[in-house]
Every structure is written in structure tokens, then in C-alpha cells.
Symmetry: C2
Subunit: 436 residues, 2 copies
């Protein structure tokens, strides 16, 4: 608590920081998060993969084998672009979603968060515009803010990003005399919205962007975690030479393990060269050990079988959450119906505010992430993100039961005292990584 009391709250460096630090703001939910982590609280907040389901014996064994066989290299500096063997494997993984890429155009990153950072670093000057879905990934919004970008949100519906709204947003930005640098989109099992961009719209969205001279940054960490049949082919590579208009981001955080921090970018050659230079300035090189562990995991274990285990496990939890929402939530509450991934996006009845309600939910021993953090412009007060990836089904049901009780109590307060019963809070926030 040294930081919040007494003399140490005085910042001797005020006035000496870079201007970009103004965009780096601490989350208002940080303090609550410590409480939300208590075992008696059902956390529907964090987007943590269920790593307990991993084949831990095999992972431990392959690590010691790796060190025995090639320890001096695994523990040494590596290439800034990433290990060539892993980059070849990555191309095979991407092919499962219809992406054709060369290992030479892949840059390995410290999780796909670093990919977002590098892309923003090389494309964004302060005041540049980025288009992003409404809502969008909170970690991307944090990075965009850190580079002083202005985010313009584009509405979604049950089929993902709305093409007509994208056209309108591009026109509005242009009419304002500004140019958007790229569209940031999560087409599969969106974080936080839980929806996916339909196959037909993928072509349409890409064509709109090509015609507008707009890059597409396609962020796809969840694509292999669908519950209903094979993956929808990626945006990347649709339509001739259009692959040069798309920068594709992938990650092993959800198909294998986030604790390794191994993600990647597939980018047109000229962009890739700049990404590698930027990454060398940022971290010198991604950890050699982690990359070799991933390669070893992909080549020596039935990793696709493990992905199927995850699919089944997350599908059961998705079902538990949707069933509980249907049977318990007060009318006026709505939610999305994800066919993969980790998240259900929920909209509270009119007059309620998810941020204001949050302390009461924590008191009732259930945690979620308020919606406003997923917008750069203060939208989302009635919205919240529920995650079903980590708790077991019975806990999910119990969490939704508690949440439904809180919403009912809020509605009663609202009916009794009117909409002024609680302070309204707006503003984008960045939660800690465990919530992102």
C-alpha cells in the first residue's frame, strides 16, 4: 500500500514524462480485482485458458528432453524474427484456417500483444485513426492509446462487423479530413463480443478496405476453438493479391499455453522487415526456449487432439453459461451466442450500469468485466463481458445465479428510486493482464 499513502504518492517526475504517457491509464477495476481473485468469488472476469487440461507430463518431459538435446541453443539469444523451425510450423498451423504464408514473412512475437504493439508502432503517428469493432479487445485499445491513436468504432451485429457501417465510418473519417491507417478486427469468436464475422461478410469487408486503401489487421487467437464444424477461412488471402492488404496475427496462448508468450504476425514483406527491426529495438529477440518448446510440442504431441479436448471443454462451459443465463437472468437482459472462444457479451436492462453495479456483484461473490473498458469512447455502460473458459460448469451456473440476483436487486432499486439512484461512470480503462 506504499503507493497510495503518504509522501510516495508525490511524483517527482511529473512534467518529465513523454506526452504518450497521458494515454496510459490505470484501470479503475484494478483495486477490485484483488477482491475478485478471492476463492469464494466466482470469477467470470478473466480470459484465462484452462491450462489444467494440458498434458502436463508430456510438456514437462519435452522441456527436459529439449534442454538435454539442445540446451545451449535453447538458453541462448535467438534471431529477432524468430526461430526458423517454428516459423515453418506456424505456416502449417495457419493453413488450418486457409491462410497461405511463407516462413520468411512470419515474425514471432512475445504473445500477439507484442504483435499489436509492433504494428501500432510502425504505422501510427499521434492522432492517426484506427477503425475497430464496437466493442473491441481491451488490450488492443490500451496499445492504441499508448501510441496516441484515435479509435473510431464500427458497430457489429450477430454476424460480426456490419459492412455498411464500415463504409460509413470510412466516409466519416474521410469527411473529417483524416485518414484511417488500418481496420483492427477479430473475426472469430470475438473478444469480448463472442460473435463471428460471417463468411460472406469477410469478402465484403476486405473489398471495402481494399477500395479504401485501408490495411486490415486480422487478429485471430481463437479461430481453432470453434464448437461447430471446421473454421471459417480467414480474411487473409481472400481475393487475389489481397493478401498484401492484410496483416494476420496468431497466437499459441489459447491452443497451447499463454505462459509461454508465443504469438506471431504474418505480414507483407516490406512490413515484415520493419516489424523485425521494431521487435529488436523492443526485446532484442523473443525467448528461444519458449519457441523451441512450442515447436517440440507441435511435433511430438497430438496437439490437434488437445485442441479438440479444449473445444469440448469450452463448449460444455459455454452451454452451462447460456443455459444459466436463459433460466435465471431477469427479462430485459440480452446476450450473444458464441459458437467458439471464451466470451458471452451481455447487455443489462435499460437504466442499469455494469460499472456501477460491479462492487455489488463482488459483494455477492461474482466478478465480470464492465463493458466500458472495451470502448475507446465511453460507450458500453449497460454492457459487460462474461467468460466461461476457466470455471467449471457448476461454478459458472452458481456465478450466473449470483449475478442474476444482483441484477434483480438493481432493478428493484431502479423501480423504487429511479435512474438517479447511483452515480454513472464513463471512460475507457485498461484492466490488468489477467482480465484481458
Amino acid at each position: 500500500m506504499a503507493g497510495v499513502t503518504g509522501a510516495r504518492t508525490f511524483d517527482a517526475f511529473t512534467g518529465r514524462y513523454a506526452q504518450r504517457t497521458a494515454g496510459m491509464t490505470a484501470s479503475e477495476i484494478r483495486a477490485l480485482f484483488a477482491v475478485a481473485s478471492r476463492p469464494e468469488v466466482v470469477s467470470l472476469a478473466g480470459g484465462m485458458p484452462y491450462t489444467t487440461a494440458l498434458p502436463l507430463d508430456a510438456v514437462g518431459q519435452l522441456m527436459s528432453d529439449l534442454i538435454a538435446r539442445t540446451g545451449p541453443s535453447a538458453l541462448q539469444y535467438g534471431s529477432g524474427q524468430g526461430d526458423p523451425a517454428l516459423r515453418e510450423q506456424i505456416c502449417q498451423v495457419m493453413a488450418l484456417e486457409g491462410v497461405v504464408g511463407s516462413p520468411d514473412d512470419v515474425t514471432v512475437t512475445v504473445g500477439s500483444q507484442q504483435a499489436l504493439d509492433l504494428i501500432t508502432r510502425i504505422f501510427i503517428d499521434p492522432g492517426d485513426v484506427i477503425l475497430a469493432e464496437a466493442p473491441s479487445y481491451v488490450g488492443a485499445l490500451g496499445t492504441f492509446a499508448a501510441y496516441q491513436a484515435d479509435v473510431v468504432h464500427v458497430p457489429m451485429d450477430a454476424d460480426g462487423l456490419v459492412p455498411e457501417a464500415l463504409r460509413q465510418a470510412i466516409a466519416d473519417v474521410k469527411a473529417a479530413g483524416r485518414t484511417a491507417k488500418f481496420l483492427y478486427t477479430i473475426p472469430n469468436f470475438h473478444n469480448p463480443a463472442g460473435t463471428s464475422l460471417s463468411d460472406a461478410r469477410r469478402d465484403e469487408v476486405l473489398q471495402i478496405c481494399i477500395q479504401a486503401g485501408l490495411l486490415v489487421v486480422e487478429d485471430n487467437p481463437y479461430g481453432l476453438l470453434g464448437f461447430e464444424g471446421p473454421p471459417t477461412p480467414a480474411i487473409h488471402g481472400r481475393g487475389g493479391s489481397s493478401e498484401d492488404n492484410v496483416i494476420y496475427l496468431g497466437s499459441f496462448s489459447k491452443t497451447f499455453a499463454p505462459g509461454l508468450r508465443v504469438g506471431w504476425v504474418l505480414a507483407p514483406h516490406a512490413v515484415r522487415e520493419k516489424l523485425v527491426l521494431a521487435s529488436e529495438a523492443a526485446v532484442l529477440c523473443p525467448p528461444a526456449l519458449n519457441q523451441m518448446v512450442v515447436t517440440e510440442y507441435l511435433t511430438t504431441t497430438d496437439w490437434m487432439g488437445q485442441v479438440a479436448v479444449f473445444q469440448k471443454l469450452y463448449q460444455e462451459r459455454r452451454d452451462a453459461m447460456l443455459n444459466a443465463l436463459t433460466s435465471m437472468m431477469p427479462s430485459g437482459t440480452t446476450w450473444t451466442h458464441p459458437t467458439g472462444g471464451f466470451y458471452v457479451w451481455t447487455t443489462l436492462p435499460e437504466g442499469l450500469d455494469a460499472k456501477v453495479m460491479q462492487p455489488r456483484a463482488i459483494t455477492a461473490r461474482v466478478a465480470y468485466v464492465p463493458g466500458i473498458g472495451f470502448y475507446a469512447d465511453g460507450q458500453g455502460q449497460r454492457e459487460l463481458r462474461l467468460s466461461y473458459c476457466f470455471p467449471e460448469p457448476a461454478r459458472i451456473e452458481e456465478g450466473v445465479r449470483r449475478l442474476a440476483g444482483v441484477v434483480e436487486a438493481e432493478l428493484e432499486l431502479l423501480a423504487t428510486f429511479g435512474p438517479s439512484f447511483s452515480e454513472r461512470v464513463i471512460g475507457a480503462t485498461t484492466p490488468p493482464p489477467s482480465l484481458a
Copy 2:
């Protein structure tokens, strides 16, 4: 070779990049490096620790034990600030060099390169001035350039940074109507200079900076790798409340393994808060696995004994290099006498140019890093960095023999044809990570 021929060399994105990409330049020695990596070449270029000397059995075993005991956490997302257990260990490691810090003020980073990136990110606006030794660490110069900082070099002598020159540089910057944001210094076994800042000068340098209102960024990856007695106490913590004027950087890359990419920053509380936010935007969190491997290594192995093994090994190689230089190099060549670390900084006889000479050295099957990469302003043509950390002593001797032959041949050419015999090249470059 797709990237260097035909249509793909055309960059469709020209004009769309951020202005800062102008400061991200590829190294001119990159192409040569592929040649320099051939087994028949003695590389005195790379700063790679001799990871072959690590207790590989113990490291492999502790990894599989770790996964068996706590796999789901080791493979999970962690905190943006870094694992609390590791931050406590880091404070004990820093104490060995006289640094007193609280785990709460430590931020774990993806190698200390990321620490440099984060510090530059939170303090530097384009055009801000950073003071740095002449020469300075090439990886830091690359990061500073990526944030569009202007580096002003401060001369060194055999006792490190020259205090009077520091006073002068501060005065010159002020007279130009500008303000330096921080002094970047490597006080121990400097990369690339091989020198150390004397004990008395540490106090003086700190006092100069305090009086000038200038932060000190103390980068200390090599401090525990001295060959002559205990470490000189760090700059951090000298003189009362002065610890709030120093940001201290450490790393496990040289005492343990660079392939883990685990470094850290100890910073005043207000700065630490901004560092964590910046790191979350950059990578979400450092890899949990790697941090737990380091903690396990520190607590279950005789890591100090291993550091002693490294000290002895590098001392033998340092001796081999200095002896070879003394017995073989043509007169007019001078070099520094490191008492720890990895590097000998060499100055060629007047009229020679280390960059121009480099292809001839590679042809003679010896590699080094030309000096100009270690300056932001084109200095260092006669200078070069020799590393003794990786090759075995007999190879070092052979490498210096080859180098001496190349220098002699250059001197003969110079005597015969005069100083115009070869093109002179200037300009700062960024080498690949394996050379940094």
C-alpha cells in the same frame, strides 16, 4: 531471396508508416553476418554468453519438476509487473552489488532490452536528448533512435565516463536551449568499451546528475562477472535520497541464460507504475514459465557457484585475448583492459577504418563488430569491438592472429597507396541481436 528481387522489393506501404520508422534502420553488417556465422570463421563479434557451461542436467530437471508441481500456473498468464516470488529474489541479487530495493518497485521485463524500451517510451518525446557514453550499447542506441531521441555522447577514459565531460555536455545541451531527459550509463565492464566507472566517479557522476535534475539510467548486466574481487557498489543508492534519481536495470542473461529473456527495472514508485502500464500495452505480461524457471534456478541450484565458473572461464578468455593482442597486433593499435564482462575495445592505427576493413577480415576468417555502430553520430571509424565470451582460448588466439594479419595488410596498403585507398563509410547501424 523473395525479398530482394523483383516486384516484392516495392513497398506498397511507403508513405503510410509512422514517422518513427525513419529511425529504424537495418544494419549494414547484417548480410556479412551470415558469412561470419560460418564455422570456419572465428567470430569475435557476438556477445553470446557461453551457455554450454551451464548445469544443463539441473536446468532440464528443474523445468520438468516445475511443470509437474505447478504447470497450470507456469503455463498461465501472469502479472504485468512480474511474479512476486521472482521480484523478491531479484532484490537479493541486487543486494550483492549494494542495491537496496523493494520487490514492489521492481518490474520484470522481457530481457533488459525491454526495460530500455519501456524507459524510453515513458520519458522520450521525439527530439528529446539522452546523454550516453561514447561509445554506448548498440541495442540502446537502436531503441533511442526508434523513439526519435537525440543522443549526445559523453567521452570515457580508462576509469569510465569522464565527470568533467559530463558537466560540459549538460551545459552544452542547456546552452542549446534543450534539456536532457536522462543519462544512460553502463558502469561495469562496459559494452562495448570494456572499462568500468571507478568508485569515486560513481559518487561524482550521481551528484552532477542530481544537481542538473537529470535521471540516471544505470544498466548493469555484467556487474557480477568481474575477475578482480567483489563488485564495486552500484550508482543506485549512493547518497541519501538519491535512489529516487536512479533507474536501475538488471538481467539474468549473463549470469544465467539469455534464451529466457528475463531482465528487470528497479525504479522510483511513480515511474514503476508507468513502466507496468507500458509493459502491459507492449506484451501484456512477461512469460510466467521463464520467471518461475529463474526463481527455481536461484533457489535450488548453487547459482553463485555457477557465476564463479563463468568468471573463471571468461577471465581465461580475456587473458587469451589480451595476450594475443599484445604479442601479435601491429604497433599503433591500442585496446582497453577489461576486468570483467565480455569485451575489448580496440582502436586501429591512424588511417584505417574498421568498417571498410571488415569484408577483408571476413575473407581472412575472423569477425568483429565495427565501432561506428556504437555511436549515434558517426564516430568510431578506427574502432572495433572484440568479444572473448564465446570462443575457446585457442580460437581467440587464432582469431587475433588472423585479425593482426589483416591490420598489417591494411597498413601496407596505406603506406603504398595513401589514405584514399579505400572508401570511407560512416553512419550508425543496428546489428542483429546475436551481435548486440
